[in-house]
């Protein structure tokens, strides 16, 4: 969906653009990638072996194809010919092996090694154009890794020689359509076109070198500042336009707003089932009934948010549409459920109590990672559950360390999260599996574990979708482990003179600058 195209006329080569982005990347090394907001930067300079198309299907990129062994225990990839890193090093099987081995080096990228490459046994160079990954157990998510920023290919030379490999920088080199030539921390990144680029993925709108000569990304943390910079024509593109500022953009004829839902998991509240009150299914259901999600979303996001009904984002091919309209927003039901659950009495402030204890649930948010005004959303939910059911939602906005500690000590009842993984399965493994890295529901449901495991081991698409549909039914409808709220989305506001404004297929985040051009 690139409706901006007509306004800017035909694609044109040349020129320079400035794009204001919300987040300054912690690292410019794709192996260390951890911020969804930095994804659009990664693909300017780096590329992966595979990528997703609009339907969520894997398609080749630096690899021309791949072959899974029948037992699912190995994958063989063929590499594209003639690809070189911008430092001149050719991309071959050895380079790929070097990259993956580097990722498994202790202390280099512990998160990738421990999670995404958990089931990887070895990488072998079959011939210069062919590389084989062998696994300890069937794992379709290894392909998702190969399509992820962490799986992007970095020149083996820079892996050896870069000054600060972990932080990345101008000396960490990839194969992408742009070359990073200036990084001013706290201010901006400046890229120049890679003239020899000729291996765009099938998902791109054109082939050959990028249209733009140069592009600058400026870091403007404050949304008001970003939009202000755009309306006063100090930048041409802006990402991250909060709902309240969107009217400013849509009211301006020289600007255009586009948005797209992210893939992965929906933004949801996960209920901690390990202790009262959410150990009681009725209370979990009551909480969900107490919130009129549509109204809450409208007040906070003014019709710009897409309601989520499941843990999985509606844009994902694994989404189970049948959950829609199945629950929520029924205050009377909420009150009845709570009365049944023994929370019938109320205290002076109007909150429900049982055995002298208030019906208090704590939501712990780590301030540095709060985005999309989720703190405000929390306040709206807080007001809603108080008004309609007498539930006391306490919000703690704390630093990451304190938040982690609260989770470790089991001192929370609500956990909020969304993950922007391209394959929702990867996200759910972490969030819902009883041994998942961030299983904050603390649910220990063998059925859920079993569904997740078979989902990860199944390559066939419809079969896989069926498994995840069962999983969603179990988690959302039967167990009420989560309150899905909205599908995270990204927005780009751009001057109408900019053409080729796109989102990355499936991931739903702003795409790289490859297809951008300046019209007229």
């Amino acid at each position: 969906a690139a409706p901006a195209a007509e306004a800017a006329g035909e694609p044109r080569s040349g020129g320079a653009l400035t794009w204001a982005v919300e987040t300054e990347p912690i690292t410019l090394n794709p192996h260390q990638y951890a911020q969804a907001k930095a994804r659009l930067l990664v693909w300017n300079t780096f590329e992966s072996l595979l990528t997703y198309d609009k339907q969520g299907k894997l398609v080749p990129w630096l690899a021309t194809g791949w072959q899974a062994a029948p037992d699912g225990l190995s994958y063989t990839l063929t590499l594209r010919d003639g690809v070189t890193f911008t430092d001149g090093t050719p991309l071959d099987a050895t380079a790929v092996k070097t990259n993956i081995d580097k990722l498994r080096e202790p202390g280099y990228a512990p998160g990738v090694a421990a999670v995404q490459l958990r089931n990887l046994k070895a990488v072998e160079v079959v011939d210069p154009r062919t590389v084989r990954l062998s696994l300890t157990t069937p794992d379709v998510l290894i392909l998702d890794f190969l399509a992820s920023p962490q799986g992007a290919q970095v020149s083996p030379k820079s892996l050896r020689e870069a000054k600060n490999l972990k932080a990345g920088g101008v000396d960490v080199v990839g194969t992408g359509p742009f070359v990073l030539d200036r990084y001013v921390p706290g201010q901006e990144l400046h890229y120049r076109r890679n003239p020899g680029y000729d291996w765009a993925p099938p998902t791109a709108a054109h082939n050959g070198p990028a249209h733009l000569d140069e592009i600058t990304y400026r870091f403007l943390k404050e949304s008001a500042v970003r939009v202000g910079a755009l309306t006063s024509r100090q930048v041409q593109l802006v990402e991250g336009v909060p709902a309240t500022d969107q009217p400013l953009v849509t009211a301006n004829r020289t600007l255009r707003l586009t948005r797209e839902l992210n893939s992965g998991s929906a933004y949801s509240y996960y209920f901690n089932t390990s202790h009262a009150p959410f150990d009681d299914l009725r209370v979990r259901q009551a909480f969900r009934e107490a919130v009129d999600v549509d109204t809450v979303l409208r007040s906070v996001y003014r019709d710009t948010a897409t309601r989520a009904w499941s843990v999985i984002s509606p844009s994902s091919p694994l989404y189970d549409k049948s959950l829609e309209g199945g629950y929520g927003g029924d205050a009377a039901k909420a009150n009845a459920l709570l009365d049944q659950a023994g929370w019938a009495a109320r205290d002076a402030d109007g909150f429900r109590v049982r055995d002298g204890r208030r019906l208090t649930v704590r939501l712990v948010q780590a301030a540095p990672y709060v985005r999309d005004r989720r703190d405000v959303l929390a306040q709206a939910v807080q007001a809603a559950v108080k008004q309609s059911a007498g539930i006391d939602l306490k919000i703690a906005l704390v630093d990451q360390g304190t938040a982690t500690q609260a989770f470790e000590r089991n001192a929370y009842e609500v956990f909020d999260n969304s993950r922007a993984d391209t394959d929702a399965g990867a996200a759910l493994n972490l969030l819902l599996h009883s041994k998942g890295g961030i299983n904050r529901t603390r649910a220990n449901d063998p059925r859920i574990d079993q569904l997740l495991e078979s989902g990860q081991g199944t390559a066939e698409e419809t079969k896989r979708a069926g498994i995840y549909a069962q999983l969603q039914q179990r988690v959302v409808a039967e167990q009420a482990l989560v309150l899905p709220l909205y599908a995270p989305a990204d927005q780009i506001a751009a001057s109408t003179s900019v053409g080729g404004v796109r989102f990355e297929p499936t991931a739903g985040v702003p795409a790289s600058a490859y297809d951008l051009w300046i019209g007229r």
Partner: protein, 295 residues
């Protein structure tokens, strides 16, 4: 004669960021301003103690269907991003802001007086140690010190109070210490020995009362400063957590909506400014009268 370096730059001479220079106030006699400031402060105390009188509503009551409404008859100062009445929140915020300010000032003044007296009255070593300690604390800009404290203790009202109290304490301690040294060396104290007074009685009768005298004035002006710092820290998200209607926090929340709903931001801001101005005006007036009595 040579004057040593120290006296010229002792911190006791350093004007307090919001301490008014005495003589600016000396000449002024604008009663209307003083009156307005007094009236505002009374209103503020009413808002803090009994907010329902001025705003009967619930500051937390959100109306999802009436968000970001401009000021109107129903909502004098409009509504915020959750549809809460801004006037109600500003009124109820007075309690939060005043509590923080008063509590922080109480910590700063009490601690400052005790430590300042200790430094000023005991012998050189204790004085030197304490003075260095005050220096060490003052070496951090107040905001940074408070930030550090909050980094350790976590954000929240109590942290904020302690942080501001501790950060502004050295100033009060220094003033008290300076005043103590001044009084201690004043002729009326030195010569009081000739009346046959013992040292403790001399301190109790002549030193303490003259040192404590200016403290209330300091406290009033310090209160204004504390409220400003609190607003700044809340603005940075280090203060009371949502949904509490603290002014700084309201400012910070409203900032994102400035282009579409200026009233959420500007009105709590006006409340902060008016409070600080009123406190300063009253404090200065009091100080002028106090100086007048001393002269």
């Amino acid at each position: 004669m040579t004057v040593t370096l120290a006296p010229a730059t002792t911190e006791a001479h350093t004007p307090h960021p919001s301490t008014p220079p005495a003589s600016t106030a000396r000449r002024r006699r604008w009663r209307p301003g003083l009156l307005a400031a007094g009236a505002y402060l009374i209103l503020l105390v009413v808002a803090a103690v009994w907010p329902a009188v001025l705003a009967p509503g619930d500051p937390l009551a959100a109306d999802p269907l009436g968000v970001l409404e401009a000021p109107s008859a129903a909502h004098w100062l409009g509504t915020d991003h959750l549809g809460r009445d801004v006037w109600t929140r500003v009124v109820h915020g007075a309690g939060h802001s005043l509590t923080i300010g008063v509590a922080a000032t109480a910590i700063a003044v009490t601690g400052g007086v005790l430590l300042g007296l200790l430094a000023g009255l005991t012998h050189r070593l204790a004085d030197e140690t304490l003075s260095r300690a005050f220096d060490a604390i003052s070496a951090f800009p107040i905001l940074l010190l408070a930030l550090l404290f909050i980094a350790v203790a976590g954000p929240g009202t109590v942290s904020l109070i302690i942080a501001i109290g501790v950060a502004t304490l050295p100033h009060h301690a220094r003033v008290v210490r300076g005043q103590t040294l001044l009084v201690r060396r004043a002729a009326y104290v030195e010569e009081a020995v000739t009346f046959g007074l013992s040292r403790p009685r001399l301190v109790a009768r002549h030193v303490l009362p003259n040192v404590i005298g200016p403290v209330p004035v300091l406290a009033v002006i310090g209160l204004g400063e504390a409220i400003m710092i609190a607003a700044g820290l809340s603005f940075l998200g280090m203060g009371p957590q949502p949904p509490s209607p603290e002014w700084g926090a309201m400012l910070s929340e409203g900032r994102n909506y400035l282009q579409v709903a200026w009233w959420i931001t500007v009105l709590p801001g006006v409340a902060v400014t008016a409070t600080v101005v009123a406190l300063t005006v009253v404090g200065r007036h009091w100080q002028t009268r106090f100086d007048g009595r001393q002269r």
